[in-house]
Amino acid sequence: MRSNKVEQSIINVIFALISGFCLIPFLLLVSASFTDEMVIIREGYSFLPSQYSLESYKFIFEKSSDIFNAYGISFLVTTVGTIASLAIMTLLAYPLSKRDLPFRGFFSFLVFFTMLFNGGLVPTYLIYANVFNIDNTLLALIVPGLLVSAFYVILLRTFFTVSIPGAVLESAHIDGAGEFRIFFQMILPLSLPVIATVGLFQVINYWNDWFNGLIYVSDSKLYSIQVLLNTILLNVQYLLENVEYSTRVEGAAIPTQGVRIAIAVIGVLPILIAYPFFQRFFVKGLTVGAIKG
């Protein structure tokens, strides 16, 4: 028994260290965002700054409309994108779950093959930016992510095939219900768990996406929060150039180093807050996904 206790303690210590390793950078980010600008310049970002300050957040809330605009774009893109993507994916997965559908194998392969081979950035970019001209529109933030992985479609199809009793569908057919009615009134309600899982993944994908913004969007009014963060990270000047002129004339220095970090905290906040609530569903989704589809 005693050796067991020692063993448990050792494992606990190992995991405490690893958890610390995973969480500590966030802690540094948060405490840096509450640090006085002069202290940052003198002592750098630290866990226990000698002087706390709300200056960075005050500055963001008073002076920067950019960040709220970017937040709005992120919420809009995430909501519309997730709903549209769930619609396309479930509509694609349902017919593929029908064993008697002619050419089912062909269409399934069409979906699966996209996991093996893709054209890469150059042709994709040229198609969207030069053929469909969706660069610098909100569509550029939504469309490329709609079917980000064929894997989700396969996940949905497997669920429709395995988990929905054929007898139920059979009786619906006999009652004369059309495919659309069956799809909306039976398939979707019965598949809520898997739809919620895929939806959660898509919410995170859309919220975290900065790549499409980076390549397709140059109009700063269309920046999502991640793209704005990306711009500020790679170019501190952006912060200085995009602050209203009046604030600069006042002579007060812009707390650049602090503001930069505070914006990152605001950007990651929704995920940190929501994480404890969706964590279990997310883990479930990941592990379901690991099973061969």
Partner: protein, 312 residues
């Protein structure tokens, strides 16, 4: 005579039923055509001279000229080497660490703590690479970073210009990658460990097998199928680097390119920063084709060894 109309009617109803199903397929299939299949054929622009006046894909054929330019540069070698070396190291280290953690986590009796640790190591996986870039920046910034201001003085060392010294980045990027993705793999392996039948362990205990023997002879063999699939998926993508990790985290810093430039960042820079579509498309073609061959090849090898473990 009376049978024929009824039969026709049945066939017609069947057709109508499928018509609706095909109609449902339509948006998804149209999307795949635009988003995936046209770009797949679009990779032929690597053999063309781009001329927008003739339409995006209408340029003149130039044979292998774009490839000649690409492989004449020393960069072609560097980006290939970096991409493959980094990914190989990532795959190996992530595998060992995540399987190790999954087995250890399963040994833990306290369920509440177990869930907490699980959440903590998974959290970095959910963060966008932009945020990861900020986290690394708050540690490594030359003037204001935690490492230069607090850690280095502690050991009596001089501040290091992290963002201009390429020699540190193989280590930094490896640590960041492990931090970012080990949680995900650990969760997958942990689920597999939990699924192993307890009777095997009971029997082993009766036979006097210690913990280590149990891990070696029960846990690892039971995990093999999952390990093979997960690793195969990663090997299939060994020619594709995590763009964010190699672009955001080093802050797109020029002096770091010798150790941070990979295929994906090269294609991006050639296409959107230098506007050199010929080079970009040649590198992209090279990446797509070799990547495809690799995934087919690894799957073939696994199928030969154990058909049950292959992907398709």
């Amino acid at each position: 005579m009376a049978m024929t109309p009824r039969l026709n009617q049945a066939a017609f109803r069947k057709l109508r039923k499928y018509k609706v199903l095909y109609f449902m397929l339509l948006p998804g299939v149209a999307y795949l055509l635009i988003n995936n299949y046209i770009p797949m054929f679009g990779i032929v622009i690597a053999f063309k001279e781009i001329d927008f006046s003739k339409g995006v894909f209408g340029g003149d054929w130039v044979g292998f000229r774009n490839f000649e330019y690409l492989f004449k540069t020393s960069e072609a070698y560097i980006i290939t080497r970096n991409t493959i070396l980094y990914n190989t190291v990532f795959i190996a280290l992530n595998l060992v660490i995540s399987v190790g953690l999954a087995i250890l986590l399963n040994e833990l009796k306290n369920k509440l703590l177990r869930r907490f640790y699980q959440s903590a190591i998974l959290l970095p996986y959910l963060i966008s690479t932009v945020i990861v870039g900020y986290l690394v920046f708050s540690l490594l910034s030359m003037e204001t970073g935690f490492v230069n201001n607090t850690i280095m003085p502690l050991f009596g060392k001089e501040a290091v210009m992290w963002y201009t010294e390429p020699k540190y980045w193989p280590v930094i990027l490896t640590i960041v990658n492990i931090w970012h993705s080990v949680g995900y793999l650990c969760i997958i392996y942990f689920a597999a460990v939990v699924g192993i039948d307890h009777e095997y362990y009971e029997a082993a205990k009766i036979d006097g097998a210690g913990k280590l023997k149990q891990v070696l002879h029960i846990t690892l063999p039971a995990l093999t199928p999952v390990i093979v699939i997960m690793t195969l998926l990663q090997i299939g993508r060994i020619f594709h680097a995590d763009f964010g990790l190699f672009y955001q985290v080093p802050l797109d810093s020029g002096p770091l390119l010798p150790t941070t430039n990979v295929l994906d960042t090269y294609v991006y820079r050639a296409l959107l920063k230098n506007g050199d579509i010929g080079m970009a498309s040649a590198a992209g073609f090279y990446q797509s084709i070799v990547g495809f061959v690799l995934i087919i090849f690894t799957n073939y090898v696994v199928k030969k060894i154990n058909p049950d473990n292959s992907l398709f």
